[in-house]
């Protein structure tokens, strides 16, 4: 995120899209409610009528997969009505002419048709967003887990750039990071193309500094993403998976295909429970959970915070396990404690260089970039002007996803999260009360569709996609748009049996988990 989480309270207008904030990031959802309570304005664009939509000033119930078109439609109004921040555009951006040309055809009528919303609401949202002195955008997986996810993000940054809503309190384009340490895992270079601090493996200088520090030669070839590794295993190119604390057998798109790949390869799993993925493992190592170890997590606002051991470990910490494997494979090394690893890491990581355990303690967390030990950290990025010179407007045409065009699968299924459960329920379902409130998977459908399909609330339905079939209970809900359906992704043999892993966003390699063509019938 460019801005701190509490900073949404400084915005005059908050635009929430593709994020069911009160369910997936509950405390942040409360900040949005607090802002609304104080008279700030709220725009929500989502295929589902989420709880925040109930209190929104404008709610756009867009068809899944049409976010980019909505951004273009809003920009059309912003340029046409002169609501753009011309001074900001002039000073800080490039490529505005091309974008203006592109959005010409995204008239309110044309956009309303694509998105399935009222044109008056698009106009209202555009005026509200660009008309305020500070507006903030919050977005999440509904934007990124699409085959055109990167383009959706471009659409939102175009909005922020055109209205000068970057680099000041209460503004920003803020991607909410789903998991507790997804930000940290990326910062640490747990990605196929970068070392820590996003230094490219293909960059000779970056490689050189890691080679010098680690005393080995390193590969300069970008590796495979998780989504690419699964098909590679099916083609016998990947022979072994070493998996830490993940449950791809449930969480990844097209579970059947993932399970086949796991069956084929040699699989090592480090986890705290025997997950659905561990069931496919050849070796399983019991790991310590967060309450049993020291270390740091980096939250969505780039704040590095401490994790502290409270009870004795049941297994071994993941770092102890890895350290032993390093030694067994002939790479001699030793760390007494997690802090030693942090110290080694920050010497190689410019954005974390000034962060120490002591300083985290003193400051109640520190936001990177923090280049040296006198630096106070950076809660707001891009202050005054975009970080790397001029920011570029991206003019990309909206296109419908292939999944939405299949006549044999006419219903657009999207996936969602519920507040009580976390991901694949491995941890949350162990709390009895949670399991009792939310024991089973279900699919939510629109009342009118339910009547047409002759489905009563609570009846079992069969949902079929090109990947597989699932049987779940139907819940009839006003919050669902006609022609769409929504299913929580937490359960095995649920949503991800249906999702497609073959079509990925060409840049981010994210599958379109939020848009699946299905057919649905009563059993």
């Amino acid at each position: 995120m460019t801005n701190p989480l509490t900073d949404v309270k400084n915005a005059d207008v908050i635009f929430v899209t593709g994020s069911n904030t009160t369910e997936a990031h509950p405390v942040l959802g409360s900040y949005v409610r607090q802002a609304k309570e104080k008279g700030k304005k709220l725009i929500v664009a989502d295929p589902i009528k989420i709880p925040l939509a109930e209190i929104a000033d404008v709610f756009l119930q867009i068809k899944p997969g049409t976010s980019l078109a909505l951004s273009h439609g809003m920009l059309h109004i912003i340029f046409a009505e002169g609501l753009d921040d011309k001074a900001y555009i002039e000073q800080n951006t490039q490529g505005v002419e091309e974008l203006k040309e592109l959005v010409k055809k995204y008239t309110p009528e044309y956009t309303a048709e694509i998105c399935g919303v009222e044109k008056a609401d698009i106009i209202k949202a555009a005026r509200m967003y660009a008309g305020a002195s500070v507006s903030s955008i919050l977005y999440c997986m509904g934007i990124t887990q699409q085959v055109n996810g990167v383009n959706n993000v471009y659409g939102l940054s175009n909005l922020a750039l055109a209205s000068g809503n970057l680099g000041k309190p209460g503004s920003g384009v803020n991607p909410l990071r789903g998991q507790n340490n997804v930000q940290g895992a990326c910062d640490m270079g747990a990605l196929p193309d970068v070392f820590t601090a996003y230094r490219k493996v293909t960059d000779h200088n970056a490689r050189k500094s890691f080679e010098d520090a680690w005393g080995v030669k390193l590969s300069g070839e970008t590796g495979l993403t998780a989504t690419e590794a699964i098909p590679a295993a099916l083609e016998d190119k990947i022979k072994m998976f070493h998996i830490i604390g993940e449950n791809p057998a449930v969480s990844d798109a097209d579970s059947n295909h993932v399970k086949k790949a796991l069956k084929k390869a040699f699989v090592v799993v480090q986890d705290i429970f025997l997950t659905e993925t561990a069931e496919f493992a050849d070796v399983v190592l019991p790991a310590a959970c967060f309450a049993e170890k020291d270390g740091t997590f980096t939250n969505s606002e780039r704040r590095v915070q401490r994790v502290r051991q409270a009870v004795a470990a049941k297994g071994q910490t993941d770092w102890q396990i890895i350290m032993q494997l390093m030694n067994l494979l002939g790479y001699k090394c030793h760390y007494d404690q997690a802090e030693d690893i942090f110290t080694e890491m920050r010497a190689l990581t410019p954005s974390y260089a000034g962060i120490t355990y002591g300083r985290i303690e003193e400051n109640n967390g520190l936001c990177w970039p923090c280049p040296n030990e006198d630096h106070p950290g950076t809660p707001i990025l891009h202050i005054e002007k975009p970080l790397k010179g001029k920011a570029e407007f991206k003019a990309v045409e909206w296109q419908p996803a292939q999944e939405s065009l299949k006549t044999e699968y006419p219903v657009l299924l999207t996936t969602n999260r519920i507040q009580h459960h976390y991901h694949t329920r491995t941890m949350t379902a162990k709390t009895k009360a949670i399991d009792e409130y939310y024991p089973d998977c279900y699919v939510q459908i629109n009342p009118a569709d339910a009547a047409t399909w002759n489905i009563a609330n609570g009846e079992f339905v069969e949902i079929v996609s090109a990947r597989g079939t699932v049987k779940v209970k139907a819940q009839i809900a006003d919050s669902i748009k006609k022609g769409t359906a929504s299913m929580p992704f937490h359960w095995p043999d649920g949503a991800n049996v249906l999702t497609c892993a073959a079509e990925l966003d060409p840049i981010s390699k994210v599958p379109g988990l939020k848009l699946v063509g299905v057919s649905l019938r009563k059993i």
Binding site: V27, L191, F195, L224, I238, P286, T298, V307, Y335
Partner: protein, 349 residues
């Protein structure tokens, strides 16, 4: 800055502050029930009264702004008598079963009753009773212990934004309930437990799996391991088990938690936790083995695959759930020891 005198001591304080804030800054403790720095002050419980030395007026410290040359007495005989009196009234209908109360040892009413040496029997009347029971699977409300401070209702409406609680029937009959006494979920409760965490007494309390007394536990501050908000929390530990969670004031959570942070900790000590390494043997089943054996086998197999098919035949999946230190070390392992950039984690999910 303006000049005031607290208990005869001169202080300069920023204008606009309340007497309570000025005292806090000066290191003087004043009892409060209905005050919380994050909430709009309501001034309803009056336990924070202080005396203006010039007029002998008693004023609530939490809602009264300081004025130039104000002379404040925080513990004068008049103040002490007033606080004692207020506590005795509060206790008149309170269910004083401290022996088995959930909050014994961690209760403001108990602490102040002791501090102000109250006479419990002074106004003793009928214990507060209510036919209305509010509960869900995570926590419950015991009206007989409620002191009507209203903080539960205010945190729910002002900070959490769900408006589940309402304070009804002003006066002696004051009661906390959902609107018209409907079910909590129907009233919009999402089980965040923020009302439970803010209740100063034993009225709102979690339904606990493991019982513990306030003095039996250690509290360790850490970061919630669920979503990307990164709330700060205290893990409450008894006999090497996490038995409860209490919110801490982190910069990203301002003392709030959600249902997962507050209540979803049973997994830590769950019997299904893995404790020994498992190896799949010829029978196709997983069997317990020693750490040495498991680690050696992984090392051998990794080496063998690397030798036969090359390092790029190995894929590492790190985790957005584990620490930075562990992600860094696994990254180093994949790149420096195995020799491949085939490394990713669940960022895309």
């Amino acid at each position: 800055m303006i000049n005031i005198y607290i208990n005869g001591q001169q202080r300069s304080i920023l204008p606009g502050k309340t007497i309570l804030e000025a005292c806090k800054e000066s290191g003087i403790h004043i009892p409060t029930f209905c005050y919380d720095e994050r909430l709009k002050p309501e001034g309803s419980c009056r336990i924070c009264v202080v005396e203006l030395e010039d007029s002998h007026k008693l004023l609530p410290a939490c809602t009264t702004e300081i004025a130039p040359e104000m002379r404040i007495a925080t513990h004068s005989p008049l103040v002490m008598r007033m606080r004692k009196h207020l506590l005795e009234i509060m206790l008149s209908n309170h269910d004083i079963s401290c022996l088995k109360c959930e909050r014994a040892g961690n209760c403001l009413l108990q602490d102040y009753a002791y501090e102000y040496d109250v006479d419990i029997e002074k106004y003793r009347g009928r214990t507060r009773e209510s036919a209305y029971l509010a509960e869900n699977k995570f926590f419950e409300l015991d009206q007989s212990k409620c002191i009507s401070c209203g903080k539960c209702a205010r945190i729910c409406s002002q900070l959490q934004g769900n408006n589940v609680w309402a304070i009804s029937n002003r006066g002696f009959e004051t009661e906390v309930s959902t609107p018209f006494g409907i079910d909590m979920e129907e009233a919009g409760c999402v089980h965040c437990g923020n009302c439970v965490s803010i209740c100063p007494v034993g009225a709102l309390k979690p339904k606990k799996e493991h019982k513990f007394r306030a003095w039996e536990i250690n509290e360790i501050q850490t970061t919630c391991s669920y979503c990307g908000v990164g709330c700060q929390m205290y893990l409450q530990v008894k006999d090497d088990k996490v038995v409860g969670v209490k919110p801490a004031y982190g910069k990203s959570n301002e003392g709030l938690l959600c249902v997962k942070g507050k209540f979803a900790f049973d997994f830590i000590n769950h019997p299904q936790r893995l404790t020994t390494p498992l190896l799949r043997l010829a029978d196709g089943e997983l069997h317990s083995v020693s750490w040495e054996e498991a680690l050696q086998l992984i090392a051998d197999k990794t080496q063998e695959i690397k030798n036969t098919y090359g390092a790029d035949a190995i894929m590492g999946l790190s985790s957005a759930r584990v620490t930075n230190e562990e992600n860094y070390l696994f990254m180093k392992y994949m790149r420096a020891v195995i020799g491949t950039n085939n490394l990713d984690h669940c960022a895309r999910l």
